[in-house]
Amino acid sequence: MNRLIAKNGWVLGLVALLVALFVLTRFIQPNFGASGLESLARATLPFAFATAAMAVVVIAGGIDLSVASMMAVAGVTAAVLMDGASDAMAVPLVLLVLGIGVAMGALNGALIVVTRVPDIVVTLAMLFVWEGVALLILKAPGGAAVPWLREMIVGTVIFPWLPKAFVVLVIALAVIWVPIRRSKLGLSIYAIGSDERAAYRSGIAIGRTRIAAYAICGLFAAMGGLALTFSTGNGEPIPGPYLMASVAAVVLGGVVLGGGKGALLGPIIAVFILRLVRMDLTLLSVDPNVTTIVEGSIMVAVVMLGGILAVRAGRVKTA
């Protein structure tokens, strides 16, 4: 039991922080309830997918600066193709867009592996490439989403307090990540992020694993783009503020930049924390500029605290 707590200490801490924030929110806004929860979940959905995308490559020891641009490409592709499409066509179109996401991510990864140019440089370049592609597909916000897809993420399901967007997020992440995490591929992703030489010696194909990690990143980014298009009902070619937000949530979520440590659960909780903080500050009608200062301070404080606690724990262990 103690070991379980020790291993998942970071996630438990984040859960506690999230609960505290919900209590605080009720305090600030006594009538915060089901509808507030629903709009929070819906607003968080694209951020959450962007965070999942970023988390996978960071765990693998990399980074992908093109996440937001890939979301834009996926979002506008869906909006253009679905404009006037029938309900039945929506499913193959969604799969097509997801496939495009995988291809974009795999291309990022392949470029890094083949050219040996640092990941941060390659994906910075691809940020501009995908941004241009998105604008070529759609010059100005437009297109449409098939209505039933919009209904899939708007509203609640089963219980009046359970947002559909949240359920979609959990299902999508679970269906994709859980099998990968338990497969050799998942272990290999952790392995190359943790110690590339040791991984190589253990017989892991480093290049292929890295490309796979970026492909998964592209897949999640495509989901984020779709979520955006579904919830707004049109395509937006200019990438939103998802890049920095995803890095922030990944770091706050206990994934170490540099690789090997962390999981998807922490960053997903972290992304809700960061959104909820923003919502609370808006409810308190705090100046938006102050809001970003608060968000930044929370990140530094939490990560620093975590570091101090880890050092403490380490000391006890060696003593």
């Binding site: 070991r3 291993k7 050799k184 272990l187 290999s188 952790y190 392995a191 992020g193 943790s194 110690d195 030489r197 040791a198 991984a199 190589y200 010696r201 253990s202 017989g203 892991i204 194909a205 090997g260 440590k261 262990k317």
Partner: protein, 497 residues
């Protein structure tokens, strides 16, 4: 060609070049079922390149590697594993951020077999959900070995397996390996310890200058022959001792190291470094010399013992403290000590400006004079003054050492300063070091090349297995004496049975 019955591995005529450097010319190694073969060679003999080729981490230029008579064109460690050769490398190759069970799954290791070997090798209380990163180094070495054994390889390759282990575990490992060999497994055993080789090996294959120069059965007195083979023609033709400072340097101790221990390697080393002396440090790879230099440079803290400067005890909590005390460390990796993108001038002047506690205006004329002087004296190539990274390795090294000529230095710690440098530049570096000593500096000079000791040093301290085993006058330090000492064999000692 028909392979003899029971031949598991047959490597012949293996060569490998890196650019202009020939790492391997003609290496060969055979091993039969049930045999333990020691692969030996001095620093730079090509041992590690050969190991990388055998294990698939590198591809040979020519030659072949056959396993069980099957030609192998190995491209990766994974393929080498599949063909039946499983290595245990010098450093742990388990993933630190995964637990034991995940590491086993990653390599497809059967858990029960693994646990059997872990118990056999004497590790108790290991849990499958222990994180690798939190286990002690010795345990990790054993887990590496247990993982390799659980794969039931035809050929097991152990590279310095016992280096980080306490004695009781070494015994267990040796026993287990011998038992496996008796049961029919073949083992390639790489170690700097003759006693272990004598205890379990059947044959020794010796590499020198990238060539296999001998294949001897292990029997009484084999150490002598192995040392001779490792040294080859180099025996006895080293330059004579410089010795100029030796007479004046006596009895004027500047730096005293007393019973120093640090990390897992360095244990109880005592040294005296005199004024105006160049004291050589001789050791095989990983015998604790890295830790010794790291402690003196203030980069790690010792776990025991003391360092005294002119009789005053020193304790460093930061490299800046060591620098303030007058200790100057020149790392083996030149990139660690130079600003590669900046000019020779700036690099030479850096210690003049960067003295702790010195701020304010730089006296440009004075600086320029000193730097020009240093460039002349060191004969640094003037064509590439703009960026240090465009200088050759030898010229870069001259800059790292020569900057102390410009600024003056009390104690200079040189860690393998001539690695990968041409002969002419080496000479110039010896002269530089000598000049610094004559100015009154005390120099601690670790070198991986034994032939350098008489050329560059006054005395030499030999470290083996973390302990000081001998201090010899450079004049008496021919390579054979040093090599024997570096392998922990004293002249008087009987051959371990």
């Amino acid at each position: 060609m028909v392979e003899p019955e029971g031949r598991l591995l047959d490597a012949q005529g293996v060569s490998k070049r890196f650019g202009a450097v020939v790492a391997l010319k003609d290496a060969s190694l055979t091993i039969d079922r049930g045999e333990i073969v020691a692969l030996m060679g001095a620093n730079g003999a090509g041992k590690s390149t050969f190991v990388k080729i055998l294990t698939g981490a590198l591809k040979a230029d020519t030659g072949h590697v056959r396993i069980r008579g099957e030609e192998r064109r190995v491209g990766s460690p994974a393929e080498a594993r599949r063909s039946g050769l499983v290595p245990v490398y010098q450093e742990p190759s388990l993933i630190p951020d995964l637990d034991v069970a995940d590491n086993l799954r990653l390599g497809g290791t059967p858990v029960e077999a693994f646990q059997h070997w872990v118990a056999e090798l004497g590790i108790e209380g290991l849990r499958l959900d222990d994180m690798i990163g939190q286990l002690p180094l010795a345990t990790l070495r054993i887990l590496d070995l247990a993982r390799a054994l659980a794969a039931e390889p035809d050929v097991l390759l152990l590279d310095e397996m016992t280096a980080a282990l306490p004695t009781d575990l070494v015994e267990k490992v040796l026993k287990t390996v011998r038992k496996q060999a008796d049961a029919g497994q073949a083992v390639i055993y790489i170690s700097h310890r003759f006693s272990e080789i004598a205890e379990i090996c059947d044959r020794a294959t010796v590499l020198r200058d990238g060539q296999t120069v001998g294949d001897l059965p292990i029997e009484a007195g084999v150490e002598e022959k192995v040392v001779e083979l490792m040294l080859g023609a180099a025996l006895g033709d080293g330059p004579t001792a410089a010795g100029a400072g030796a007479a004046t340097a006596q009895a004027n101790t500047r730096l005293r190291v007393k019973n120093l221990s640090a990390g897992t390697k360095l244990a109880d080393v005592s040294l005296d470094l005199h004024r105006g002396e160049v004291l050589g440090v001789v050791a095989l790879e990983g015998q604790g010399q890295d830790e010794l230099f790291d402690v003196l440079a203030g980069m790690i803290r010792p776990t025991g013992g003391a360092v005294e400067l002119e009789g005053t005890p020193l304790s460093f909590s930061h490299p800046a403290d060591a620098i303030k005390a007058g200790m100057t460390f020149v790392p083996g990796d030149r990139a660690d000590g130079l600003l590669m993108e900046r000019s020779v001038r700036e690099n030479l002047a850096l210690p003049l400006l960067a003295r702790p506690g010195k701020w304010g205006a730089i006296r440009m004329r004075e600086e320029a004079r000193r730097v020009d002087d240093a460039v002349d004296r060191m004969q640094i190539d003037r064509r590439a003054m703009g960026e240090v990274q465009r200088l050759s390795g030898g010229n870069q090294q001259k800059v790292t050492i020569g900057r102390w000529l410009a600024s003056g230095v009390d104690i200079l710690l040189l860690f393998d300063p001539t690695r990968g440098i041409d002969v002419r530049t080496k000479r110039q570096i010896y002269l530089l070091v000598r000049e610094l000593a004559e100015q009154g500096a005390s120099v601690l000079y670790y070198t991986s090349e034994l032939a350098e000791v008489p050329a560059a040093c006054d005395r030499a301290a030999v470290i083996f297995n973390g302990r000081l085993v001998d201090v010899v006058e450079a004049a008496d330090a021919d390579e054979q004496t040093l090599m024997r000492a570096a392998y922990g064999l004293s002249a008087a000692e009987a051959v371990p049975a």
